[in-house]
Every structure is written in C-alpha cells, then in structure tokens.
Amino acid sequence: MKILVCISNVPDTTSKINFTDNDTKFDTNGVQFVINPNDEFGLTRAMWFKEKQGAVVHVATVGEIQVEPTMRKALAIGADEAIRVNAQPIDGFFVASQLAEVVRQGGYDLVIAGRESIDYNGGMVPGIMAELLDMSFVNTCIGLEIEGDRAKAIREIDGGKESIETSLPLVIGGQKGLVDESDLRIPNMRGIMMARQKKLTVIEPSNVSPATQDTKFEKPAPKGDVKLVDANNVEELVSLLHREAKVI
C-alpha cells in the first residue's frame, strides 16, 4: 500500500495572530510553524500502517522553501519521502488541484489529509481532491482499518458516529481520534539524522487559477472587561444572564 499524507504548514496552536501590509497578509514574524494538528493525527496513523502492514508513506505539501523544516519533521517522524509543490497555497481549490496532480503522478492507494487546517479553516482540500481523482472519501475520520483494497472507517457526525465501509483508492479527512493525542510522536535524534538523508522532491505547480482570494484580514473586536460576581451571591449571575445578557 502506498500512502500520501498531505501536510499543511501552520502557526503553532499557541500563536498570537496578527496581520500586516495594511491587513492584507498574515504576519509570520515571530511565529513558530508546525505540522497542522489534523494532519499529524493522519501521519501518525500512516506510521501504524507502515509498521504493521508494510505501507510506504510519502508526505506532500504546497508551499515555498520556508515550509521545508515542517517537511523534515514529518520525515523525522518516519515518512519515507517528501514532495513539495513550489507555490504559495493561495486557496483550497488551488492546493487541492496541485495535490491531486501529485496523487496522479505517484499512484497512491490512500491519501490522508486533515479535515481542515487550523489557519485558513477551509476544510475543502480532501473533498476537492477526492472528486478530482474520483476516489472514495471519508471526512471527519476518527477510525480507519484497511484489509486488501477494503476499508472500514468511522466518522464523527453531529451527536455521534457512523461506521462506513468503502474501498481503495480512498481519501481521508482526518482528525483527533484517528490516533490518540498520546500516540503522537516526537522525533528522536536518530529520526532527525535520518530525515536529512531522505528524498525531498521539489516540483513546480501546474497552471491552476485560484477560485477565491482573501483580500483583507481583521482581528476580532477587543473584549470589554469581565463583570465579576461574588461567589456568595450566585443569584446575581442568574439575574445578569437573564436581564442583561438575555441568554436564559
């Protein structure tokens, strides 16, 4: 089985978000970048398929040269090879189209992407890829088993979960649950050393027009001060929620 894990290079979850250039760009100044958490759950599940079922695991991303440390981290965690499409990830349609081309060229049986990236939150890349490639697709996936070309998946639904049976080739939109938080791997020194020798192929993007363009950004309006209620006067909170906030 040949697996492609699609990786997005995103600001660390603790990052403060600021915008620059007249609020038209995300300000990367002082920001630490990481593997998108939803992708990392998928990568870790892919490692399981590698170790238990002999799968070959590649990782791919769309990004410029500054995303390479994140790719090297994925290699240090255990991916065999990395592919970088040398372009700015302009929108979900653009990214999905570029990654679909990587899948076509590489002949992958299983493609795992995160259900969404935590920066632009588009959540459309796995779905667009599946449709462009005419592959089966399971989103918000929290469990995945593969036997031959058959797949059993569990997906999260609003208020519960659904068991699904499908077949390869398959695209997964993964998230926490695909593996547990405690299964995530921190690269060790040996992994980091080996990652330096692994193949990282850079390919040029195919000619695709983005379908959307972010023209401006804004931050949430600043919040007013918290109104404190005395712990011995809980009744006051009930009254405030009813009369002032009007939420009960």
């Binding site: 929108d91 349609f93 779905g127 697709f137 999260e156 519960g160 998230q175 379908a211 959307t212 009813h242």
Partner: protein, 322 residues
C-alpha cells in the same frame, strides 16, 4: 438564475441550521434579485421553509436516500443546481454539509467560502467575511468564479423570518447502486442529549474539576439549562471524558449563545475554539486564569461550592419563569 439552499433534516425535521442557511440565502437572493429555491431530503414539513423566504422547495423522498451519503447527496444537489441555473449555493456548517462542501466545489467548479459569519460585504464582486485562524481572525474573501458556494457558520447570521408564498415540488433522483461505493453500515447517535453542534448553551468542564467522578454537577447544570456538555483538551486527553466533547482549536468549534466554563484556565487554543460564542461565563478559583480576560461574566470561587449553588438558583429561576 436562482439561489439554492441545502436545508438539512434530522429524522424528518429541519435542523435550526437549515433555517439559518435559508435566512442567509434569502438576504443574498434579495440583494442579487434572484428567487430562492431550497432542496430538502426526507422532510416532513417543507412548508416551514416558507417562513424563511424560500419560494420553491424541491423535495426528494426515496428509500435509497434515507441515510446521508456525501457523494450521493452531492451528486443530486449538483444536478439540481445545474437544472435550476443556480448562481450561488448556500450550505450550513453541519458536519454533513462540510463533508459535501469540497465535493460540490469540485463538481460545480465553484469558489467555496466556508465559515461565513455575516451578510456579504460586497455583492459585485461577491466578497464575504469568514472565520479564519480558528476564530483568531477573519478574512474578507472574494469569490472569483461564476458559480459560488457559501457555507454559513452556526449561530452567526441568526434566524430571520420572512414569510413568502411558496410551492413544494416532489422530485426523484436518478441514483443507482453503483453510486454507493461508500456505504454507511451503522449510525450511533446520542439520543435525549443536546449535541454541541446544535446547542444554544454549552456547559464545559476542565482540569479544575479534579476527576471524571466529579462531572455529575456539570451534567446536572447542563440538564437544568437544556445545554450540551463539553470539556477542555487535557480532560479528553486524560480520558476523563470522550473526545467528542473536546472543544477548542483541535477539537470542536463552539458558537453558542452562552458558554459556561468551569475549572478551565483558558489556554489560547481553548479560547480560540469557543470565541465565536456570544456570552461567556467563567468559574475558577484562580483570579489570574486567562479565561477571565475572555469572559463576559466571572466568579472567582470553588466550583464545588459555586456550581451546586448555581444549579439551585437556576432551578428557582426556572420555576418562577416557567
């Protein structure tokens, strides 16, 4: 041309998100001077959509579409969108709608703007405001394509009633067995409990509650308020509560009217996930907890004393206001 809205049902009833998506769609339809058409599967009360500006409901009720299937539903919706000369398709932000979003964008060669939180900023060109950076920012997104898809965030635009005269057209979809390469074998849905996705009020517990055995009061408070229960990331990581309750940046996003955080310090990732909620209340022993900077109301105090007291006072309030 028309605006098409997908109105989701559960057990035959329209979800609140369906009415919110229709409210948004009607506002847009008015602004661009096009009629609003809705598509619904297996609904019992299509007439309810007339209250939200829908003048034509295309209704499909058939056995092989009884259970949601993203690829099959998307196929049917895209065929209808083409037959109705749709300019803009409006989706909600349910898990199922998000599942279909990408598929539909590819099928219809449409620019797709999800997580939209307000009426369009501009109609020509179409520019929408959407949540990005997991609620730490918003983007103004221009949709470049002729066919457009907008996903409306939960609890953002609100329900806006507009009573119109409407018709319901029963139609059938041409679906064959070969369309079902992906099959649902079992659906487990919690019954009798409010889900985080649908909740107006969410009661959430953190590490400050010391252990899973202390969740009784969280559940009781939720019951009194008709709320969903949720938890912080450490709580789900330690296995005190199920992953499905984890709210925050890598868990579920919450956009409810009232969010009550008990024993949650307010890490930046947690606050990002719940920031879209309208009113936030924090109960914590530590007055320096970051959550107090993000909350509207706060009580500095021991949850084990404050919460039972709050339950009592709410019961009294409910009895008086019943």
């Amino acid at each position: 041309m028309s605006v098409l809205v997908y109105t989701e049902t559960l057990n035959g009833k329209f979800k609140k998100n369906a009415f919110e998506a229709a409210s948004y769609a009607f506002d847009l339809a008015q602004k661009i001077g096009q009629p609003l058409v809705a598509i619904a599967f297996n609904a019992e009360n299509c007439d309810a959509l007339f209250n939200y500006g829908v003048s034509k409901v295309l209704h499909i009720k058939q056995e092989n579409l009884a259970t949601f299937n993203a690829k099959v539903y998307a196929k049917v919706i895209s065929e209808i969108a083409l037959s109705q000369s749709t300019s803009t398709l409006i989706l909600s932000a349910t898990t199922d709608a998000k599942y279909m979003g990408g598929i539909l964008a590819a099928k219809l060669k449409a620019g797709f703007a999800p997580n939209v939180v307000a009426a369009p900023l501009s109609i020509e060109p179409l520019v929408v405001k959407r949540m990005t950076f997991s609620n730490k920012g918003f983007a103004h997104t221009r949709i470049n394509t002729d066919f457009r898809i907008i996903g409306v965030s939960n609890n953002s635009f609100g329900l806006v009633e507009n009573n119109v005269e409407g018709t319901v057209e029963e139609i059938s979809a041409d679906i064959s067995d070969s369309d079902f390469n992906t099959r649902s074998v079992n659906v487990e849905r919690v019954t009798g409990k409010v889900t985080i996705a649908d909740a107006d009020i969410v009661v959430s517990g953190g590490r400050g509650l010391k252990g899973p055995e202390n969740w009784g009061m969280v559940e009781e408070l939720a019951e009194v308020l008709g709320a969903a229960t949720a938890c912080s990331k450490p709580v789900s990581d330690m296995g005190w509560r199920s992953h499905s309750e984890h709210v925050g940046q890598t868990g579920k996003p919450v956009a409810c009217n009232l969010y009550i955080a008990i024993g949650i310090s307010g890490a930046i990732q947690h606050l990002a996930g719940i920031n879209a909620s309208k009113v936030k209340v924090v109960i914590n022993t530590d007055p320096e907890a970051p959550f107090f900077k993000a909350a509207d109301y706060g009580i500095v105090g021991d949850a084990f004393e404050v919460v039972p007291e709050l339950i009592e006072k709410l019961k009294e309030f409910k009895a008086q206001n019943a």
